[in-house]
């Protein structure tokens, strides 16, 4: 009365194992492809860019001569931009997430906000540039300033911060809420003393990853008209400015061959900044997850 035929089991065994091994190598290739391309890119950038990368490069302004060109204005510009974008996007993003997760009742308004956050995440960055140009630069008359650029970037990364903060908040066990509410705590006290302390690692990790996206973004700032050739440092948030990716973009557009090498040096600086930010995110995650 054996329904399972041992013969069939035996004969299909080899075939199953081969298929498994095939799938294994296929997926490995898929994973390796991206890494290999990245390695090639890094190698090229490194071999081209190291020649111009020295202390002078970091401390000089842009120049007509490739050997004198530096990235100082762009580095400082990027820092200024972050100084506007980070607080604005974190406050708005975390605030939105807290509202949606803690306070919002399930109704039309909530659904509308949720839907639009997803929509915002899907909008191409050029369109954000257009939005910034229309609203911040023209309508609110901020000009082509750091403030206008920073606010535009905040909008760009807002959905990422909202979504990652929502996830961090949702990961908090229901029992923690119960413990707090059962002692007569208000919703706000619970958010402040239980939810935020537990969610901060997740929020910061998401926030830093979002900011490193902003620091590498070019298109929106080109739209609002960030400068590409400045030989002074911004004095306040209303100054004109340039940022790393725009400076790099500008160099690659020059006819002289040497400037392409300078661009590679700029890319190395940008990559190092991004790596640093990502490492901070990882450090925060590890420190708090203990």
């Amino acid at each position: 009365m054996n329904l399972v035929d041992k013969q069939t089991v035996q004969s299909s065994m080899t075939k199953r194992l081969v298929k498994n091994r095939l799938a294994n190598s296929l997926f490995f290739l898929a994973a390796a492809f991206g890494i290999v391309v990245l390695a090639i890119l890094l190698y090229r950038i490194y071999s081209e860019g190291m020649g111009y990368l020295d202390w002078n490069f970091l401390t000089s302004f842009a120049s007509r001569f490739p050997e004198e060109a530096g990235i100082k204005a762009a580095i400082v510009g990027s820092l200024w931009l972050m100084a506007v974008t980070a607080p604005v996007s974190l406050l708005l993003g975390v605030g939105t997430a807290i509202y949606l997760e803690e306070y919002a009742k399930e109704n039309k308004v909530t659904r509308f906000i949720r839907m639009n956050i997803s929509n915002l995440a899907g909008v191409p960055s050029v369109v954000f540039g257009l939005l910034g140009l229309t609203v911040f630069v023209r309508l609110m008359e901020m000009g082509r300033s750091i403030m206008a650029g920073g606010l535009t970037m905040s909008l760009l990364i807002l959905p990422i911060i909202v979504v990652s903060s929502q996830e961090a908040i949702r990961a908090i066990p229901k029992e923690q809420y119960e413990a707090s509410f059962a002692m007569g705590a208000t919703r706000w006290q619970t958010v402040l003393r239980v939810v935020l302390p537990a969610a901060i690692p997740g929020i910061l990790t998401g926030g830093i990853l979002a900011l490193s996206r902003a620091i590498g973004e070019t298109a929106p700032l080109l739209m609002i008209g960030a400068l590409s050739f400045i030989a002074y440092l911004p004095e306040n948030v209303w100054s004109g400015f340039t940022v790393l990716p725009i400076q790099i973009f500008n160099w690659t557009g020059r006819p002289q061959e040497e400037f392409h090498l300078v661009a590679s040096s700029g890319i190395i600086v940008l990559l190092i900044v991004l790596l640093l930010m990502n490492s901070i995110a990882v450090l925060i995650r590890n420190k708090f997850s203990k």
Binding site: E175, Q176, Y177, E178, A179, S180, F181, A182, M183, G184
Partner: protein, 274 residues
């Protein structure tokens, strides 16, 4: 061994006095209370009066509504979005569902201990000080005193007094549960609700918590949900038997366990089902 017999004895001797006291000292009055989760009715027409400064046990099989009932007493059940209710529950003479009633006030007067120990991921000290802090007590000296008194009240002080600043997650399950009791005592409630507080604990930790309940009852009114009938018999003064969302019988514990009126109660306590 003796105590149970004694208690039984006292109960029969003081029946009349008990009745009178019982009428005058009701802390919770539940009147024709119905509750639904969405379209599923979880509680049917629950009517009972919970006495002050006594231990009231709620027993019944899984899914009979006993947890739902105890969570209604401090309105924690409202954290479930789809919940609907009618009928009334009054605490200290006031309807807790009336529109002007402050749920934060209710939960300050009525503490709760949950089935699974749920300390905050903070230090032992901060866990106990959480309640007083949210109610505006800031003075370090007062907080220190509250923490010590509450931990002593929960019979945990001697075990943790040298490591108050350590994270509460390092405590054993039984210690964590007593910490949760201490946290609950720290806001000096009048009533303590306990939702199967020992179901996640081993027998020794359970015995400690039971002992604690006995010692707390002179200062607090305690409502305890348990699926352990021996536990109800050991520690409670009155027992309510819930079945399928209804109160089948609500009696003095000795009477309910020795001489139940309802057939279903008898079947349950003798282990014929559940």
């Amino acid at each position: 061994m003796n105590t149970a017999a004694e208690r039984k004895h006292t109960f029969f001797a003081n029946t009349v006095a008990d009745e009178q006291e019982y009428v005058s000292k009701t802390i919770y009055n539940v009147d024709h209370f119905n509750l639904w989760y969405g379209d599923d009715q979880a509680l049917y027409d629950v009517t009972l009066a919970i006495p002050e400064n006594q231990v009231t046990a709620i027993i019944g099989p899984s899914g009979c509504g006993k947890s739902t009932f105890i969570k209604s007493l401090n309105r924690m059940v409202e954290l479930v979005p789809s919940v609907k209710m009618n009928g009334s529950i009054s605490y200290a003479g006031q309807d807790i569902f009336s529109s002007g009633y402050k749920v934060e006030q209710l939960r300050t007067d009525v503490g709760m201990v949950f089935q699974n120990p749920n300390p905050f991921p903070k230090s032992i000290y901060e866990n106990v000080a959480y309640g007083p802090k949210i109610h505006g007590i800031r003075k370090k000296k007062v907080l220190d005193e509250i923490v010590e008194k509450s931990l002593k009240g929960a019979a945990l002080w001697d075990e943790v007094k040298d490591r108050l600043q350590e994270n509460a997650s390092g405590l054993s399950g039984g210690q964590q549960q007593r910490l949760c009791i201490a946290r609950c005592l720290a806001i000096e409630p009048d009533v303590i609700l306990m939702d199967e507080p020992t179901s996640a604990l081993d027998p020794i930790a359970t015995a400690k918590v039971e002992e604690l309940v006995q010692s707390l009852k002179k200062d607090y009114s305690i409502v305890i949900v348990t699926h352990n009938m021996q536990q109800a018999a050991r520690i409670s003064d009155k027992t309510a038997f819930f079945l399928n969302g209804e109160v089948v019988e609500f009696e003095h514990t000795d009477k309910l366990f020795s001489n139940p009126e309802d057939r279903r109660t008898e079947d349950y306590i003798t282990g014929r089902f559940g």
